[in-house]
Symmetry: C2
Subunit: 324 residues, 2 copies
């Protein structure tokens, strides 16, 4: 591994950065970080003593960073997350320990918003399903494929109106959708109708787009009661985290036709996708890739390097998250 090359890791002048990741991760962070930083991974021979003095850590992808992990690094001052949501990091402990935490800020927001809209269009207009229909040669046989449903006029309930939610709203407004939302609190200066309760939002919406952070409070926020409120023509799009939805109940509702359809980029037990849905034409099943563009990957590099460089230069961090 490039980060282990040479024996002078303790002597170099580049700042030392802990890399915390699954061994199977293929995000190749080392390739672009090592030009600027000395990288210390748990399998490095010098790890046991160098890690004690490390001030900054990069948490790659969704590798869990637990209280047990954090207690191994007594000098830690900064955790650099590489995603928008940081539910895999023990943020409460970081807060109590005075460790600052950064996420990717808005680096992924546009791509995720586009993908949410793409999934919703796909479910409503049945694009993936119609593509399957064409590829299997069914058009000349069947004559036509089932109708979809028009985007314009749909009442779309956005669950979590942060930066991504606002970008989704902007896109769907251009298509004539009516935007409503729920969030921890009503946003000032936002014209869209606010609902304090997600079930009330669902009852007044044709679709829910789930893009809030996963916390103890939002885990299984979308459950059978919310889906019952949404109703049998309702569509659910999830580009947040799998556990925001009770997946077993979602699958039951889809299989029984008790909601209209779903576009899912995230799942409770990734990379497992519920096999019960593999034959369904009213779902689009995406393998957690709403951020997967070269442009987002470049933006990720910029914000991770920017946060680390700012930290070591005692400058303001680019995307520090606020503890609440």
């Amino acid at each position: 591994m490039a980060s282990l090359q040479g024996s002078n890791i303790a002597c170099e002048t580049r700042p030392l950065v802990l890399i915390h990741q699954w061994s199977s991760s293929n995000l190749n962070f080392n390739d672009w970080l090592q030009a600027r930083f000395r990288l210390l991974e748990p399998n490095h021979p010098a790890f046991p003593f160098l890690s004690k003095s490390c001030r900054a850590l990069v948490c790659v992808g969704a590798a869990p960073l637990t209280s047990e992990n954090l207690r191994q690094y007594p000098s830690l001052e900064l955790v650099v997350g590489t995603s928008t949501g940081l539910d895999h990091i023990d943020i409460a402990l970081c807060h109590r320990s005075g460790v600052k935490v950064t996420n990717v800020g808005n680096a992924f927001s546009e791509d995720v918003a586009d993908y949410a809209v793409g999934l919703y269009m796909d479910v409503l207009r049945r694009i993936s399903a119609a593509d399957r229909f064409s590829r299997t040669g069914m058009w000349p046989v069947m004559g036509s494929y089932a109708l979809g449903s028009k985007l314009g006029g749909k009442r779309v309930g956005i669950v979590g109106l942060g930066n991504i939610g606002l970008l989704i709203a902007k896109r769907l407004e251009a298509c004539g959708c009516i935007i409503k939302y729920t969030s921890r609190k009503k946003k000032p200066d936002i014209p869209h109708l606010f609902y304090a309760n997600v079930s009330d939002l669902a009852a007044d919406s044709d679709a829910l787009i789930v893009c809030c952070a996963l916390t103890k409070e939002t885990r299984h926020l979308i459950n059978k009661d919310v889906m019952t409120s949404l109703g049998k023509n309702g569509v659910i799009i999830n580009i947040g985290r799998g556990a925001l939805i009770n997946e077993k109940e979602l699958v039951d509702f889809l299989v029984r036709g008790e909601i209209g359809g779903a576009g899912l980029d995230v799942y409770e037990d990734e990379p497992s996708v519920p096999e019960e849905l593999f034959g369904s034409d009213n779902v689009v099943l995406s393998p957690h890739r709403a951020i997967c563009t070269p442009e987002s990957m470049a933006a990720l590099q910029n914000v991770v390097i920017g946060n680390l460089e700012a930290f070591f230069a005692n400058k303001p961090l680019l995307s520090e998250i606020k503890f609440e």
Copy 2:
């Protein structure tokens, strides 16, 4: 058939309307037209003499209405088309004969614009392809699916900036795309950059979205020269008519990787879809269904009935096309 029920077709007071369609059409126009009009189809026993006095004709779907057909109806004053493009109707002869022609106006425009954007998102972000990847259980095996490409910042060349083209532009601007266009002539009061030549537009674009009318002049407008100008990362979306593109050359360019991808709703020889593309992940193959929503079907009924009622009441037609 409901329109043939009873023997009093010549005696009723409802206005008489010729129905011109393929026998295999499943658009069920009769069901909703016969409440207001007497419908006369070619297989009706009274057709030979009643057709001579018919003043209005509904041309269902893409059934060709040729000069030979038109000459059978000497009293014809109105042809009601049921699509946006009327390339299947001999409009020049209608013009010379003083027969007015209506299309569906803007009844389908929003749905077609949404579908164009949906196809473009799908090709760029590889949504259908990633859905196939998930459904075949490849995610746990392969770890991840290939990157797509970001929508924001893409230079999108719209070929034909009519009502549909403008709605596409509005949607893609909300996603951060840069809109350019070609059209018969530069549009006043349009901020987007105009190109007189489609090859020049292609050379300055990351994607072409083809949504112009099919005429003698636009047949095979998108050919190998245009595709060469567009380049190997370029994407083509076609929601206009299949023959706007030289399909054989398009397939060659896609198979050889000389353009980046395509989202096709229309084909030169429908319902045939080029089988060479069935295995390609950089294309989305849709069976001519950009208008296929219940909302568009309802809007179609309204505009067809509205045009017929206006005609028989000597009022202005809702969506008369202008001869140029």
